[in-house]
Symmetry: C2
Subunit: 297 residues, 2 copies
Amino acid sequence: MSLVIVGSLGLDDISTPAGSVHEALGGSAIYAAVAATHFCTPHIVGVVGKDFPHESLMMLEAQGINLDGLEIREGKTFRWGGVYNNWNRAETTFTDLNVFAEFTPQLNDSCKCCKSLLLANIHPQLQLQVLQQIEKYNHVACDTMNYWIGLCPDELAEVLKKVDLVFMNEDEIKDFTKRKDIFSAARELLKLGPQWIIVKRGEYGAVAIARDEMFFFPAYPVSEVIDPTGAGDVFAGAFMGYLARHPQLCSAVVKDAMRYATVLAALNVQNFSIRGILGTSLNEINKLKDEMLTWTT
Amino acid sequence: MSLVIVGSLGLDDISTPAGSVHEALGGSAIYAAVAATHFCTPHIVGVVGKDFPHESLMMLEAQGINLDGLEIREGKTFRWGGVYNNWNRAETTFTDLNVFAEFTPQLNDSCKCCKSLLLANIHPQLQLQVLQQIEKYNHVACDTMNYWIGLCPDELAEVLKKVDLVFMNEDEIKDFTKRKDIFSAARELLKLGPQWIIVKRGEYGAVAIARDEMFFFPAYPVSEVIDPTGAGDVFAGAFMGYLARHPQLCSAVVKDAMRYATVLAALNVQNFSIRGILGTSLNEINKLKDEMLTWTT
């Protein structure tokens, strides 16, 4: 029932056509972990500086996140600033890595006893370091981004060889494989070893592709996007949180995980930072998921 | 069991990265009618010039298309030339309306006895002329394009008030309604009167939207696009051809119509002109449609 999430924790300055926030909770591990709390106990492995608000740590723990694997270092927390002029891509205004620059992920004993792992979007070298520390996990997944695809594709390929599931955007999977369509791109990735490639297509939903089956899911329609930051992390976190409860990676489980991931991602973009996914009951999430079922059958 | 299709018949010069064709059969009515032959007897109402190849007319009749409503006029057939540098949009190299410039659609008695009508992509004024000639049809649908949305939105709105189903591309429905998302755009169109708005999203599939239900369909993945010309016409033709067999416009029928339309559109883009949808058996089409079912349930 536990999921280890290795990723960034940060304080974000975000500006969108709907407004702006200053030093809001962000980072891939925070988004993914909050989404996962609806299904399991996520353990965050990451680092923050001494300036990270104590009340935020308490809030995350109150949400059911295990922070035993969180390092609190001398120095400042990772900070990122982004402006959205269109919803598909943030323009980065600043990136201050701060204590995150020297992050070396170390899994403690409680993390080693978990059965599922999400390697959120961090340097593939760090993802490999984590993979060397685990044994006998049920489900291991990685996320990534275009930056690493350009910078260190070989190290990323090494990661892909060692995971069961891969989360990638449509453009990322095309870039990485140099294929023009996502289906042949996914087949290339499957050859490396993963069982499932999860292709995220933004407002067009997502496709789960395995060797001999595939499933399409629409995005949950959102009438007003407020802040798209973290939608991919929330998607992966909810997906892996649900998987943590199911030892077998069968297609029925993957399909339900996709639906939950879709619902949580839609909730996320309807408010700034993690506000959209806090305080929504599983009952409410299930209602939205059941609604999705009626659209595709 | 019969469907009237009012639209253009033409000879196309098409160039794509996969090759080119000269004076190939084209026009919305031809694409739509050939697709519809898999399900019903389509009646084409349109016009060609004396130069239109006699053997092409014989071939269309041999496919099961009723051409009693086709005018053959002194003069040259409508001609269109297009080049695809990317798959989403053709660059028009020439448009010679020829006899199509003076086209005034007249429904003969056999057309008036039909029960379904597809107003393919022609001037909304002509679509209105046809609508004045029919009574007691089961299903009336219209297609359109960005050109008419820009030129005569008010006449198009008049058409929309009188039809049961509307086929539009994602961008077209947003342009016409001045809405940013297809769901609120579709709600605007539904207010005018249609029961179903069929939003085509290219490689991302299509969405059928009614007042209190909606259904998403992925595109059928195509490994190599050869010529996208007519894909929208084929989609509408197959959809309406299937509907012609079903007096009730219930959601089960709409869903199957969407699947057939999706399959035929995918077959169409895999060859030049109408070659991709000629000579495919209904048995083969059903296999592809059944495969689609496994991707979304």
